[in-house]
């Protein structure tokens, strides 16, 4: 029996397990109950979980709490604990209990270290490592090493791993069965004194793999390890073999089911970590080639000795993807074998060579090498074949140009992220080689003498383009990449095109007659980065900005010496007096490269960094040297534990039900006393300053979906009326919230008089506003609690430099801030103070600073910054301050606080912040 219909009860009693530590909280409808209930938690054992239901409970051992300790608890509220120590009963959330027992923690750690560790894991994770060590020592001294190690492995680590993976599974909306079965599907083994390996059952692993969560599983376990000052990782065999094989098998199954054919005739071998990341995105192609009779080159016709030519109808192939060749009895049946492999021959070489050896012996069809394009630099496999051992020199019919995925001239689906684009290229290259097609005839006939070739192709307009059959379509920039480039002026200048074939690409998900044009080429593998870089510059701005033809002959050698791939760079002289030149690179420039370039009057910019290229080309705006580009290679940046919870992303729209103000007001008029009504919040979807007009959508209201759903399922009449009003019958998605903790934070109210500020994601200069206690922000914002320190710091130049350098960048989407990359890494200057309240997010507050800064902030506080003063003072670049203004004064104070002069450059600031991040205490 559950407490159906009960949405709120009173915590009035408890049953102790022992005379210390956590007790079982007991609830009732009033202070003098005749029926008792226990609460059900959203995730078993999670002290940060939510109350999801109440159920009847019967016991003769219930003890009553004094009236002053009674607490209201509603479904959807955070779990409430009862904690006993030394005759004192403490009631509240884990955080509140942690604070309440502060005077006794030393005593607890001595007598009940396992219990204190439980509390800390929820309330003060930073203390967990130390307490875990203390608990282990306690166990060892009292019960022996074997018992201590068993406790640490099977109780502490296992239970915490289960808890974290359950949170992850719930957030990913995995089936309830998966969440439940986690308890029995996690096994822990100790692989070294400080390393533990987590093995998941095949079913559970499969469930995470299907949801693309295996990386998150590894991250969660690593985070747990960090918390406990040990190393915890998924079982090696699962990450390197079985698990990924399962993911890949899943992809293959998808592909096979798509094909409708049972014969597997494309094999994709996956070797290396980066390759596995890309392989996750392999999917059936969106198009298939239909070869045109008049596109068949003569040389191929001659070299085929009577093979059937002409229009070759290509059936939709099916694809098999593996990272372990032992699962295959033979490779002879594959028409195409693609090896998607990491560049680095130092890691996983044995694995890759195993592929190559077997492919060499058994393959009967076309073999392609597709380099797994590194994120930060070019692929060496795509470079010209040389004497150095590279995967590009391995024996395949040709190498596929995967670097075209990063090109600004990418012709495929523009909404694809980089790894998905590469996956598209791998699959596209494979389907071009299925059957007795012209390109297959060409590749197989030239195999012996032309191993160092490159295959590249383009589809006109990509999936979303309109068909264009104009003869001038090819050559086109779509074929250009950092690896190869066909100059429009002189197509043969970079080397030989061995063959070029045009084809019609039939779009799979459109009407049968829907075709676009495509072209595939096989070329000498000879990079020509200069031409490509110039095309990029021309693409960004008009040619008038350029003073000379590109070439790196004038680039100071000191700058080239700071590059890992100087051969993939090109220097340009510019028509502006403040820059001697700009060096475009194919790699993300290091800080040293930036500083060295600045010292010589140059700017160094990666060709993908279009915003910085625009800054460089815009002669009307001065630049500061050294010029800090948007894309810059940072050392490993630590997530600072003290910053945990500093910023929270706004609510996921899938976690709430949104409705208009009129609906809310009419509903409130009827159900105004209902608890659900009090939980409604205004939905804040714009920064909105006081000078902005209020939009209609600014009045929309939201409620957590799960609260409505639970209330509805328990027969709550207010929930029913709301859903009826909204005409929603089956929109209430079941399963856990997408981002539960963000939702909880958004619904919390800043304690201690703090305010809540929102900033736009990815916008620099930072766009900031303040929200009221009855508002929750949309997910385009991050929100931060605190006092006027928040706008002072976030609109500062110091933060802007950090945020810009740490933003995540994508080929397909705007650059974005992230909680872990931008905020948790930011070393907050000592002028401020981070305070973690017992409930709600971390707060950024005034520190104990000097009186001058106090006056500045006081002035800032009095100013109505959201009314436009900040915007007005901020220059176009976001860093320029009008002399003598308040913002400039704050910037100078902040620079002084991190021991930099007012004239510090952006690079100075970034390097200083990186140093601070490196030495910041854990």
């Amino acid at each position: 029996m559950t407490g159906a219909g009960l949405s709120e009860l009173l915590l009035v009693g408890y049953v102790p397990l022992t005379e210390h530590g956590f007790a079982l909280p007991c609830f009732a409808s009033g202070p003098q109950p005749n029926a008792w209930y226990t609460a059900v938690c959203s995730i078993d054992g999670d002290h940060d979980g939510l109350i999801t239901a109440f159920e009847l409970f019967e016991s003769d051992e219930i003890r009553r709490l004094p009236p002053e300790m009674h607490r209201r608890a509603a479904i959807g509220d955070q779990w409430l604990d009862v904690f006993l120590w030394d005759g004192v009963t403490n009631v509240g959330t884990a955080d509140a209990v942690w604070n309440a027992v502060a005077p006794f923690r030393s005593d607890i750690s001595e007598k009940a270290p396992l219990t204190l560790l439980d509390l800390a894991l929820s309330a003060e994770p930073e203390a967990a490592a130390c307490l875990a060590k203390g608990a282990f020592d306690f166990m060892r001294l009292r019960y022996g090493v074997e018992k201590a190690e068993t406790w640490r492995r099977d109780t502490l680590i296992r239970e915490q791993a289960v808890l974290r993976l359950r949170r992850l599974a719930a957030a990913a909306s995995l089936p309830q069965r998966t969440v439940k079965d986690l308890k029995s599907s996690v096994e822990v083994s100790q692989t070294s004194p400080a390393t533990f390996s987590i093995c998941l059952s095949a079913t559970t692993r499969h469930a995470f793999a299907r949801a693309n969560q295996l990386d998150d599983v590894a991250a969660e376990l690593a985070a747990l390890g960090e918390l406990l000052d040990t190393q915890i990782e998924p079982s090696h065999s699962q990450t390197e073999g079985a698990a990924s094989a399962e993911v890949l098998a899943e992809s293959a199954a998808t592909a096979a089911s798509w094909s409708g054919l049972h014969d597997i005739n494309i094999l994709i071998l996956v070797s290396g970590r980066r390759a596995r990341e890309i392989a996750r995105h392999l999917s059936p192609p969106e198009w298939l080639p239909e070869w045109l009779e008049d596109a068949v080159p003569h040389e191929i016709r001659r070299m085929n000795h009577g093979a059937k030519l002409g229009k070759e109808k290509t059936d939709r192939p099916s694809i098999d993807i593996v990272d372990d060749l032992s699962v295959l009895e033979s490779l002879a049946g594959y028409a195409v074998i693609v090896c998607l492999a990491d560049d680095d021959l130092h890691e996983g070489a044995e694995h890759l060579f195993g592929f190559v050896e077997r492919v060499g012996m058994e393959a009967r069809g076309v073999t392609l090498l597709a380099p797994a394009l590194p994120v930060q630099g070019p692929s060496q496999a795509l470079a010209e074949a040389g004497e150095q051992p590279r995967i590009g020199s391995l024996k395949f019919h040709t190498v596929v140009d995967t670097s075209i995925a990063r090109s600004p001239f990418w012709s495929g689906n523009p909404r694809r992220a980089l790894d998905r684009r590469i996956a598209d290229i791998v699959v596209g290259a494979a389907v071009l080689c299925v059957g007795l097609t012209p390109i297959v005839q060409h590749l197989t006939s030239r195999r012996a003498g032309h191993r160092d070739t490159l295959m590249t192709f383009a589809i006109q307009g990509g999936r979303h383009g309109k068909a264009d059959h104009s003869p001038a379509l090819f050559p086109m920039p779509s074929m250009a990449s950092e690896t190869t480039w066909a100059s429009r002026a002189d197509p043969g200048s970079y080397g030989r095109t061995l063959t070029k074939l045009e084809f019609a690409a039939r779009m799979c998900d459109r009407a049968p007659s829907s075709h676009v044009r495509g072209v595939v080429e096989v070329r000498d593998r000879r990079p020509h980065f200069e031409d490509f870089a110039r095309a990029v510059l021309e693409n960004v701005a008009d040619e008038q900005s350029l003073m000379s033809q590109p070439g790196q002959q004038n680039v100071p050698s000191a700058i080239l010496g700071e590059l890992a791939y100087p051969e993939s760079s090109a220097g340009f002289a510019l028509r502006r007096p403040d820059l001697a030149g700009a060096l475009l690179t194919s790699e993300t420039p290091s800080l040293n490269a930036v500083r060295t370039a600045g010292a010589h009057g140059w700017a160094v910019v990666r060709y993908t960094d279009r915003e910085t290229i625009r800054d460089v080309l815009d002669g009307d705006r001065s630049v500061e040297l050294p010029l800090l580009p948007r894309e810059v290679l940072l050392p490993n940046v630590r997530r600072l534990k003290g910053n945990r919870g500093l910023a929270t992303r706004g609510i996921d729209p899938r976690d709430v039900v949104r409705f208009g103000f009129d609906d809310f007001e009419e509903w409130r008029a009827v159900d105004g006393d209902a608890h659900l009504v009090t939980r409604a919040r205004r939905y804040r979807s714009s920064i909105r300053t006081d000078t902005d007009a209020l939009r209609r959508s600014d009045l929309d209201c939201v409620l957590p979906l799960r609260e409505i759903r639970d209330a509805f399922e328990q027969g709550d009449i207010a929930a029913t009326r709301l859903l009826n009003r909204l005409s929603r019958r089956d929109p209430l998605r079941s399963g856990a919230a997408k981002r539960l903790s963000d939702l909880q934070n958004a619904w919390s109210r800043p304690s201690g008089g703090a305010r809540r500020f929102i900033i736009d994601d990815g916008v620099i200069p930072v766009s900031i506003g303040e929200i009221g206690p009855n508002e929750v922000p949309s997910q385009r914002f991050f929100f931060i609690d605190g006092d006027s320190s928040v706008p002072a710091l976030l609109t500062s130049r110091v933060f802007a430099v950090w945020a810009r350098a740490t933003m995540s960048r994508s080929t397909s989407w705007m650059s974005r801030f992230s909680v872990s990359g931008t905020f948790e890494t930011f070393p907050v200057p000592g002028l401020f103070h981070l305070q973690r309240p017992s409930d709600g997010p971390l707060q950024l507050l005034h520190g104990k600073f000097n009186s001058r800064f106090a006056k500045l902030l006081a002035t800032f506080d009095r100013d109505d910054f959201v009314s436009g003063r900040v915007m007005e003072e901020r220059g176009a670049s976001g860093h320029e301050r009008k002399p003598g203004t308040l913002l400039q004064a704050i910037d100078e104070a902040l620079l002084a606080a991190i021991e930099l002069p007012a004239v510090a450059t952006d690079l100075d600031i970034l390097e200083r912040l990186l140093d601070m991040n490196r030495v910041a205490p854990d």
């Binding site: 397990l17 022992t18 210390h20 007790a23 409970f57 009862v82 019960y143 109780t155």
Partner: protein
């Protein structure tokens, strides 16, 4: 085994002869004749047991006699009472594992929890025309092996509650007791919507108290019992040591559901049985 408020209770015979069809099905198939006994109670009761040094019989309302109950190997207990309430035992479970010789001879042996059956927790799974007494196995340890060998085929399958898939093949329609028993055991399978491991846990009742010393080999207790804030836990652990009882722990949290405790305790017990060579 006594249960709380009843729902639809299993029918009882009133002096008429029982149809003990299950006894004829016994087929040991190499299953050891004597297997460990599991007694589950609440932590508060466990303290009293340690103090008294023995597991004591208590009045059973089902058989109207003082009895002490065990399950063969399975740490099963009620997750919900007959009234669907949760109770002290499923919120604060404590497990003793005893040698089979602790009970000699059994007062009775049943293929499931008689307390649960009498109180109707097997509901519509049980044939309403089959009486509780009809299910009784022979009152000897050997009957346990015969039942496990026939119904489950192995100790592992018995521990997991997974009955043989072909168990019904040679059971004629008119063998209603056997068929009803098989229907009841489906509740214990892991795929059941409302799994209840008691549905196929073999119950042994003793009419005699069982001394801890020499009989009880393992205790499974909440980890918090290892700590010592007031001295009572030290006393408790000392008593376990004095009785030469091994112990293992499970992770007790106030917001852990009863079925989670049972899964965790089963895991701990399974590991111990494996270590002892039973599984």
């Amino acid at each position: 085994m006594s249960e709380g408020t009843a729902l639809s209770r299993m029918a009882r015979r009133n002096g008429t002869a029982a149809e003990r069809q299950l006894r004829a099905r016994a087929r040991p198939d190499g299953i050891p004749e004597k297997l460990p006994l599991v007694h589950v109670t609440a932590v508060g009761v466990a303290r009293e047991i340690l103090k008294s040094g023995k597991l004591e019989t208590r009045h059973c309302t089902v058989f109207n006699k003082r009895l002490l109950y065990f399950f063969i190997m399975r740490p099963a207990y009620r997750l919900r009472g007959g009234d669907a309430k949760s109770h002290q035992i499923n919120r604060f479970p404590f497990v003793f594992v005893a040698e089979p010789t602790a009970v000699a001879p059994p007062y009775h042996v049943y293929p499931f929890d008689t307390g649960g059956a009498a109180n109707g927790i097997f509901g519509e799974h049980a044939d309403p025309y089959v009486f509780l007494e009809d299910y009784e196995l022979a009152p000897e340890h050997a009957a346990v092996a015969g039942q496990i060998g026939w119904a489950f085929g192995s100790l592992e399958a018995y521990f997991d509650g997974e009955i043989r898939t072909d168990v019904l093949h040679d059971v004629p329609q008119h063998e209603t007791v056997t068929r009803s028993f098989i229907d009841i055991t489906r509740l214990a399978r892991s795929g059941s919507n409302q799994p209840d491991k008691r549905a196929s846990a073999i119950e042994i009742a003793s009419s005699q108290d069982v001394a801890l010393k020499g009989n009880v080999k393992l205790a499974i207790l909440p980890k918090q019992y290892l700590e010592d804030a007031s001295g009572s836990n030290s006393d408790f652990m000392d008593r376990l040591k004095a009785q030469k009882i091994e112990w293992d722990i499970y992770d007790w949290q106030p917001n852990t559901a009863p079925n989670e405790f049972q899964d965790e305790i089963s895991r701990v017990a399974r590991a111990w049985f494996k270590g002892k060579g039973y599984l």
